[in-house]
């Protein structure tokens, strides 16, 4: 009973917040609704018994991706009138996308009710003693090792690409070298003088 309640709570809140993400006028509010949607998705994952995925969803999407979204969106200079003017412009493309998505959902439901293609490969139940993390880890590092490593490589290349594209060395760069600052001693910069009265300091 409580599972059903939790499912409808998470699913309902998720749809609600997903809807509010696209209808909210203020982009910052949109991002915050998106975060709520992520949370509810994590809740649904928990209901499925996939606690590892649920936690990763929160760590990766809420903890990192959405922070960066928020970071960018907060600095936008928002002109609400212009935003609303764009609505009619994108109406055509938007409605085509909406129809395509709705059709896909209908097809997916139809396919699902027609029965799975191969019952044996649809589900690989793990024994209750093996935790989520172990099951996923064992699969990722044995059967899908090369694909997993390739995905890592793609991410690495993307990261290096982003750094190369945005990094520039300026000619007037005055980057401080911490090792030099730490190695500097008071004697290098100051000196003690026993100054006689009536004589100026020799610099």
């Amino acid at each position: 009973m409580i599972q059903a309640f939790a499912f409808y709570l998470f699913a309902g809140l998720m749809i609600l917040s997903a809807g509010l993400t696209i209808t909210a006028r203020n982009p910052v509010h949109s991002v915050l609704w998106l975060i709520l949607a992520f949370f509810n998705a994590a809740g649904l994952m928990l209901l499925l018994g996939a606690e590892f995925i649920a936690m990763l969803l929160v760590i990766v999407y809420v903890g990192a991706v959405a922070v960066l979204f928020l970071f960018v969106v907060m600095m936008l200079d928002i002109d609400f009138a212009e935003l609303r003017a764009g609505f009619t412009k994108y109406l055509g493309v938007g409605s085509v996308l909406a129809v395509a998505l709705a059709a896909e959902i209908v097809i997916a439901i139809a396919v699902h009710s027609a029965g799975p293609i191969d019952l044996n490969s649809r589900m690989a139940p793990t024994p209750a003693t093996v935790s989520n993390v172990q099951a996923i880890g064992a699969l990722l590092y044995t059967r899908y090792l090369y694909i997993f490593e390739a995905a890592g490589l793609v991410l690495l290349v993307a990261m290096i690409g982003a750094i190369v594209l945005t990094h520039r060395t300026r000619r007037d760069d005055r980057a401080q070298k911490a090792s030099r600052q730490i190695a500097r001693r008071p004697q290098d910069a100051t000196r003690n003088v026993n100054q006689p009265v009536g004589v100026g300091v020799e610099l």
């Binding site: 936690m55 929160v58 928020l70 907060m74």
Partner: protein, 348 residues
């Protein structure tokens, strides 16, 4: 406790009541602990600056935090007209809630844990990554310059240090072989046959140093308190806040500091285990060992706060990305390589 209530109320209601009582048993003492720890922080700080610290309200000034709490409770909540009202009020609530919910998985004793879940450490990582939202939302919704700068700083700072914290936690998990916090504590029992704690392991000790410094950065304590650097940003994201909203930030911040101290104790210094694996020491209840360790680390936090000057922002970023990140990443290779050779017999 669940069994006790379940025998009277049936399983579901009993579980519900037991969990509710468990939450109260953690949250209320935690609030009391935060009040006392604020007092302790001010006393330690004062002693290091050769001052007296709070000494007027109650014996030795012990009731100072409660007097402060009463004062802010009676003050008027001021909401700036240009602020985004809903989010402005929500930000301190988020900070406070997030600071409290991490405590659900902290084990206080062999059987004293509210939620003994498989992915306990990931849960902590997930929740601590939410802490930044309170700060960002507060900074943005205040609609004011300094809080906004503070929010931007906080976002970058916390994300940066979470990366190295994540890598440190991975090396701990590799050694313990589990994400469950009780499992991690159990794995620390009897290192070399007589001491309890990963921190005594020379391979994991450097990771503890990284973790301690990162946890100060993550909670924005003094060497890294750039989010509320008063010489530059007035009071950072808290500038526009007053009365209870401000107090919630304050409480949440200290609850987070305590949580980080507890994590230091649980992940590296044996949690509720006594430091030495010697039978008579187990006569002391585990919860007291944990509290002693938490307080010790809190003292270290205060000590650092009293003695170390604030970092500059570029220094902070350099430490996070150019030193801690490569170091902790490299250390994962060392730790996993060592485990591969010794524990798993040199083959995958």
């Amino acid at each position: 406790m669940t069994d006790f209530f379940a025998s009277y109320l049936g399983y579901e209601a009993g579980w519900f009541v037991a969990t509710l009582i468990g939450i109260l048993l953690i949250a209320l003492p935690l609030m009391l602990a935060v009040a006392m720890i604020i007092y302790a922080d001010r006393k330690i700080w004062a002693a290091m600056a050769l001052r007296r610290g709070p000494n007027v309200v109650g014996p030795f000034g012990l009731l100072q935090s409660f007097a402060d709490g009463l004062k802010v409770f009676l003050q008027e909540t001021i909401i700036p007209t240009a602020a985004n009202r809903g989010l402005f009020l929500m930000a301190p609530i988020i900070t406070f809630t997030v600071a409290l919910i991490s405590w659900a998985v902290i084990p206080f004793g062999p059987d004293m844990v509210l939620a003994n879940i498989n992915v306990g450490l990931l849960y902590i990582l997930a929740v601590s990554s939410l802490g930044v939202y309170g700060v960002i939302i507060a900074g943005w919704s205040s609609n004011s310059k300094y809080p906004f700068y503070s929010a931007l700083r906080a976002a970058a700072q916390m994300v940066s240090y979470e990366v190295s914290i994540g890598f440190v936690l991975i090396s701990v998990v590799l050694w313990a072989g589990t994400f469950n916090l009780q499992g991690i504590i159990d794995a620390q029992r009897g290192l070399y046959g007589f001491i309890n704690g990963f921190g005594f392991n020379p391979l994991l000790f450097p990771m503890w140093v990284v973790f301690l410094i990162s946890s100060m950065a993550e909670t924005a304590r003094t060497p890294f308190d750039l989010t509320e650097a008063e010489s530059e940003l007035v009071a950072g994201y808290q500038t526009e806040y007053s009365s209870m909203a401000f107090a919630l930030f304050w409480l949440g911040e200290y609850a987070n500091v305590l949580l980080m101290c507890a994590l230091n104790a649980v992940l590296f210094w044996g949690g509720w285990l006594p430091p030495i694996d010697w039978a008579p020491l187990y006569a002391v209840p585990g919860i007291l060992w944990l509290f002693a360790k938490i307080f010790f680390f809190f003292f270290v936090f205060s000590w650092v706060k009293a003695t170390v000057p604030r970092y500059r922002y570029d220094q902070l970023m350099r430490l996070g990305w150019k030193i801690f990140l490569p170091l902790s990443l490299f250390w994962i290779f060392i730790v996993s390589g060592f485990l591969m050779l010794t524990r798993y017999g040199g083959h995958a």
